[in-house]
Symmetry: D2
Subunit: 423 residues, 4 copies
């Protein structure tokens, strides 16, 4: 029995899907301890936008370590943190006229969401959060109450309160979905908030992923997102965007909502922001909301790690010109060209996505599982998401070489045909 | 205006206490950007047990990065994770006959506590957690409900439920504390659980820090901890120890409770376990409890980071022999020799602690603040904790050179005299 | 200052609308202490279906008192209770093939609703109750959580949990209502219950008034009620009808839903069931749900009062033949003939209702208040209900003499014209 | 099968203990349908302080009905209500210099408690209520959260929140009780409220029965009640006394706490206040708290029933002189003389009580049940209460004839000996 079987918690999950021991990794490839290579269309669940062991980041990190840079500092000021904040301000915030403040917290997405919920409740003096079907926001109790998947919610062991789930406003109707998303539902919600006998009160915040990743690669429609934004403003609620998986360049722009014409009050970031997988989480918070914090009210030991700032600063250099984003646009086209025909060929398949996050909804968790498993055997890492795990999600590093991208797409398409036709 | 004033959230805290920008760090010293050096009796809030930029860990990390080791892997198996788990099993668990499984989650203490609460509630089918006055367990809603400090609780914006706070069983009565800790309270609690009309039901778990750090350096009495342990067992509740700040060698043994004769069902670890400040959190969970998890029920992007395993594995080498722990015993004696007389001299001062975590309760938050501030000016980093911030907490790296320790103690004692006599 | 001003709580309400002291009452008339008579279109908020001081009931009560019948007995068996139960079974339940058990509790509607919620949660093992916008179910915390009016909810002082409010399915669209009622919402709800990532779980119960009284006289559409009934059955939820104000003959049949083709699991009754205003509350509960109770789990001192059984038994005699119900049909026509033209004449007026519960929605709380106040001056008691109090509600005793009915209708119509034209 | 077996809910309870059908009742005697008479030491669970079918009340009620007095009036002013309020003010409030306002609500004790909790939370802006072990306050969710008995709490089906239960401060230690009641617990509670890191905040209210009836006839010690009163005042919490079962003369004075030297902010009354079993509930609320109500915020159909005011006004005449209360003192002595020797004789028996509410704690629910059952056979109605039903509670009408009292006491003592000696 391996040490993992002997001593690792039964909760271990992904390692059951890819039952090997990985040893090395470089850009879009991982190598297991037996030397077998895999092309990585999974990218650490969206963390590794710039590839495994990105050379520029490696160099910067090694230099930093060798020079005895501050590795751990809670929320003290460090020169590494200053460099990151200055770069982020110049490269990301100023070009967008975003006045937001940066808040660092425990370096996981769920901590970022928890902090956002707290300040939204504080700033409004209200309790309820509106979250959306198929949304994923984390595992700690505050964020979990906003996560919609019952498989996660059921683990809480206590009621998850003060959150109302409403249907998400998808760009395209997902298969035979009957949840009733759409702008008219927001109109009804507005009417309920205005009616003193509806049983509803205006919420503290609307928490939404502009592109739902774990929920099955569901892209919010622009019109719905704008209507939601207007509703939030009109009823005095905070608009929180969780861009943890879809942000940091994944969709062809830094934020997944850059082309949506909306102005969120809070943006939650994590995953890709640390650049190379070094943990970091950050909220962007409008000053008029941020000012409601008292110093130290939401602490965390690992707020703002030195190496995360160093690698994260390197990551920002990808956004100083549009080279990478143009490359993402080009690769997105390559990907859609390869997989869109699957949707044409099989009525039970729907292809959705934005930029280099693409979901292939094969209509059944079993089929998706078969595709993931067969791809793995062939040397391709992909994972499934969405209701019942029926969506195969493609999120390769944005820096993936064309040849690896081609191998991955060929493998995926071929495997999908095999599985669909075997059914 | 600096970038921090312009763009960092108002929530920033420690940087207001130490208003400089740190640039370099080595073992027990930090250097600000102007070249001023500080001896560090704060150690990143208990993370840096083995010093800033520990040489062995630096080397191992650089080697790992250069060899393209896997940096980010969710809960996939990696060779780095295997090395860590094997070493932890051999060095820590087996010598103690601990059958516990290791669970990795989002790399912050609060995530560890949230996971512990979930599995305790699942395993027992109960809801209530008993936590203790002056306890600190984190900022996310589940953990925050267990944290006792109202300054943190008030930020939740919603009621914090399903947790009952009871007085902590201190080894020594803290000043004029009237909370009524003691074993007789546990007897009454038992009576209440046995009485169907007490309004109380047996809890899912008791969550306790054997040594409360943030709460003011309160050491649980052995008898109380044993009585609590017996009560938990008798009423079918899970016994959870939060050893996040006091564990990993801080008190002169790997666990802060090694000499307590108790057998916790779950131990939460974080902070020091990553060795050099690289984020890592891990729960040790008895198999009969751990088996209640379904795969993937409590996920997290940054579960088990490569660099954290690498540095954390190096940290474990300090426990392969008793050299460091003997050194801690020696340095503890040095520290007590220096600061115990403060308690003798001033009736309003009480010195408490275990191993190299020592609290000097100066009876007032203002005095403690003055001490912290004057020490900072003199080149010593210490912080305050406890109710109203009235306890000056000394947690230097365990590896601190004797000269730095002496400087720090001299500075602290001198400053304390100054502040106490000025009053 | 009167004793009321000196010593009665500031919460007193209706007495501010009708600021006189009532002394006598007979059928549809009340007389104040100065001898002024009022025709009563209010009927004690729907309690006095059979008129004030109904002669048959008076006689029965006096006989009972004189013979030393048991007045107070908790839930002991008494001969009076037996007579009531036998009569109710024979006259109401058996003709409808209703297998329901009768449960008596504290003699208020809110206690009945609380008991219904408890047994629905027990029987299903679920927590959430679905209630509806504009619904009114009582003031104690369990029932209040189901009541939708924020003016009442706000008095709780704590969050009202475990209840989800959805739009009520009105027979006719109420003015410019945009809440989005309708069967399609139930379809979406079903889809949400079937989708493991909607964030919703099937509820313990749906709690609905077939005719909302306090909410503004909103009549559920038959199709919607049937769809709701089917949804409840399909998802394993208990269907609870709150017929407290609309039941006991008010709508032209004993239950307000007799013509709806639905089969509720639980029916909550109070108000009219005691006949003459003597407090009584009773739930009708299907045996397969009722069996989940343990003896004495939901107690109450005044369960089943002797005088309430005596007067209530007399009330049942009105349903042994169809004389009264035919009279109600005739009077309903008289009422609609009088008030329907108001809806034709004024675009801002909508007339709604079922049987002898009629609401005149005048579109504004101020106008309704003016109508109520002017009617009172002219000797007619009516009250306002609905969102912002904009609906004038007509609920005269079913036994009202034709002349009093005519006086009331003439007065109301004339006053409405005055108020509408003054605007 | 009787109609009760066929059609009454399985929840029926007391009728299983006394399985006959009662037909008539007069003062301290009830007669079943077969003509068998029972002496009543149960008095409708404390409602019938002035006996079944009290002649003066019967006459007043019949006169009122015959004269067409207003039977049902919500919270409208009536001449009957005025008479009651004036008499209550003159006879009860003014002699005690109580400035309290009278609030009427749904006519059950639980509704009174719910209203008290609401206004306490509103007035303080706080959420938590402190209630006490063995306390009983009702069945609706707000009151049930304060009730301590798990047999009742378990029926809620949802978590009961915002209430903390602490040990009740008994006058005498109850048997082997180890709950830790006593004034020192209140001191610790005060310390916790003053300590920002205790996890506790000062509550909205303390809710306590000066004499716990259902909880096992536990009499609060005067010193404890005074300490509680002082604590409430000091921390800005509302002091609520639930005198629903022990009030209205039961203990030898109108309020059970008249001799305690305390000044509650709110007193909840029900049961005995309606005089003859006619439902009525009333809170006495200090004006500075009462003023926080908005009109109509806590409604209820059966607030203040005409017959209850009529009979209740008659009941007040018993307090215009001290005749009845002196008789209670005399009868109390008779009762104690009879039953105290049981406590001397059997070490497992403890006799507790105040005035004509006496509990015989026989140490086991089974023994108590046997006593109740054998007494019933012999023609005496008594009931059991307390943890596990181990306390035989004696609450005869205060007006019981000496001969009936003697019969009851003889029967009870004889039966207790039989049961205790058979064990």
């Amino acid at each position: 029995m391996s040490i993992f079987e002997q001593r690792e918690s039964e909760i271990r999950g992904y390692c059951r899907v890819y039952p090997v021991v990985f040893d090395k990794a470089e850009n879009a490839r991982q190598t297991d301890e037996n030397g077998k290579e895999y092309v990585d269309f999974f990218a650490g669940a969206g963390v590794l936008n710039f590839g495994h062991n990105n050379e520029r980041m490696k160099k910067a990190m090694i230099d930093y370590i060798q020079s005895n840079g501050v590795l751990h500092s809670l929320d003290l000021h460090t020169t590494a943190k200053r460099r990151f904040m200055e770069r982020f301000t110049k490269v990301i915030l100023e070009p967008r006229n975003m006045p937001h403040k940066m808040q660092f917290m425990g370096p996981t997405g769920t901590n970022a969401v928890e902090a956002a919920l707290k300040i939204a409740r504080r700033a409004t003096g209200r309790r309820e959060i509106v979250a959306f079907s198929h949304g994923f926001h984390g595992m700690t109790l505050g964020a979990l109450a906003c996560t919609s998947n019952q498989a996660f919610r059921g683990a809480a062991g206590i009621p998850l309160e003060h959150v109302r789930h409403l249907p998400f406003g998808c760009e395209t109707k997902c298969g035979d979905c009957k949840l009733g998303c759409g702008i008219e539902r927001l109109d009804e919600l507005r009417a309920a908030y205005e009616d003193g006998s509806s049983g509803l009160l205006p919420p503290a915040a609307f928490l939404v992923e502009p592109v739902q990743a774990e929920g099955g690669v569901n892209v919010a429609s622009k019109a719905w997102l704008q209507a939601l934004s207007k509703l939030a403003k009109d009823v005095g609620a905070v608009l929180i965007f969780d861009d943890i998986q879809a942000g940091c360049g994944r969709t062809g722009s830094y934020f997944s909502f850059d082309d949506m014409g909306v102005d969120p009050d809070i943006v939650c970031l994590a995953k890709g922001i640390g650049g190379i997988g070094t943990p970091l989480a950050m909220n962007l918070v409008k000053p008029e909301i941020d000012k409601h914090w008292s110093p130290g009210e939401h602490t965390g030991t690992f707020r703002g790690q030195g190496l995360s700032f160093v690698a994260g600063t390197e990551a920002l250099s990808y956004f100083e010109n549009d080279e990478l984003m143009q490359d993402v646009t080009r690769k997105t086209a390559t990907m859609r060209e390869a997989v869109d025909p699957l949707g044409d060929r099989y009525t039970s398949i729907q292809v959705r996505g934005k930029g280099m996050m693409i979901g292939i909804d094969v209509g059944s968790g079993e089929k998706a599982k078969a595709i993931v498993s067969k791809c793995f055997e062939k040397g391709l890492l992909v994972s499934a998401c969405g209701s019942g795990g029926r969506v195969v999600k493609l999120i390769p590093p944005l820096t993936i070489p064309d040849s690896d991208l081609k191998f991955g797409l060929d493998t995926l398409v071929e495997t999908t045909h095999q599985v669909m036709e075997a059914a």
